[in-house]
Amino acid sequence: MDINTIITGLYITGIGIAIVFSVLSILVILVYVLKQTIYKPAEKTGKKEIGKTKIRVEEKPAETRKPRRETDPKLVALLSAAITAFNEYKASTLKKYGVFKDFPELARLLPLAGVLFKSKIKVSFGGKDIIVDVEELPNNMYKVGVGGKTYIVNYSIQQ
């Protein structure tokens, strides 16, 4: 143990603490600047959303609640039906124009792909016709819009 080493150690400690606090303080300032320049509009909607959430949480005591109507098994069936119809439409379109089944993979994997399909589909369900928006995503995923809500569905039964 050498007194010079200790002194150097104290010096490094002083410098080190000074630098880490000053660098992170600068980051504090920059984050505030970011917030001021960017965040303004988002802030308002954000606060609103928190308020709404609180109300919803209070009206339904946790751990003892029923499943919501919109997401019951019927919805699963409706989504399945919509995707099936969508895939049939897609398959017929692709075949009509000689597009091979391999194409979507190719398109998805190469940079900037985008030959994924998107369509409005009319589904007969429970006696009435429902208009559903279906959009393909990679990996057997589908974005399904129905009744103002959007579901991401992983649907992997292929014929």
Partner: protein, 365 residues
Amino acid sequence: MVFEGLMHITLGNIVMICVGLILVYLAIKHEYEPLILLPIGITAVLVNLPLTGLTEPPYGFLYLVKHYLIDTEVVPLLIFFGLGAMTDFGPMIADPKSLLLGAAAQIGVFVALLTALLLGFNLKEAASIGIIGGADGPTTIYLTVKLAPHLLAATAVAAYSYMSLVPLIQPPIIKALTTREERRIRMKQLRPISKKEKILFPIVSMITVGLLVPSAAPLIGMIMIGNLFRESGVVERLSKAAREELMNIVTIFLGLGVGSTMRAETFLTYKTLLVLGLGVVAFAAATAGGVLFAKLMNLFSKEKINPMIGASGVSAVPMSARVVQRLAIEEDPENHLLMNAMGPNVAGVIGTAVVAGVFLSMLGG
């Protein structure tokens, strides 16, 4: 010791940091080839911060990436391997004359090469600049590393940027060179391809191109091995690894490695600006070459082809095929040319690899 970075920053560094940020912006906001341009852009920012040692031999991290993975051509060849495992040559096999359109688009490479020579670049530089017109990122990187490594960042950025700009660059040229009648030509649907043909094609083309243009064999060999993995159906584990795990990892290192060459000292020269300009010339000439050759073919053949698909000889898979599809539908909503355009599109990849091989054998490796 610390805070020194601030004192050593140059105007060049600041310019390059802005260039890097622009690439990042374009990648995120406009999705211009984000898989490549985002890593390149942010790495360009990082390497222009002074005194970090990241690009310094023998142990700077980005030096290691560049030296062991890019300079050895390991990364571009593995990307070609992965592209092979992703590519469906079916549309090209179904319509073999699309190979000729893929050859025709290479005219753009030579136009840009000659223009570069006129602007004072030497032969090796001009070849590396010309190949941008092939619109194949990995081929461009492969050739530039061998012929003109100091231009690597410029040619790579040009190649990938203009690939994103294909939807802007090609339509006016296509429209200027074709009549409305030509753009409305319908083409017959492609025949289905048997599995045997798909398996034999990569083998046959690897042997053929390898024998005729040996210096193209690494590129063609790797893409065709990848494609054989894909089409054989018996090594799905490897095919998936080639196009996913390995591809993703290798793409990360490609971005880091190329981005690390964008230091102000080497990048900020008038040559870089010329390269970027010549890149547009190359893409435009390639587009024109493909379209005009298609029109030439129509003079001699009974069954007319829609000359727009010649523009897809510019690889940029599958963007230029989609451009053609979009233009076709504009004129006639029932005229789907997507698959017909995919043939020249993938043929362009082979064509550009052949041209790269020719350059390597004539200009020394």
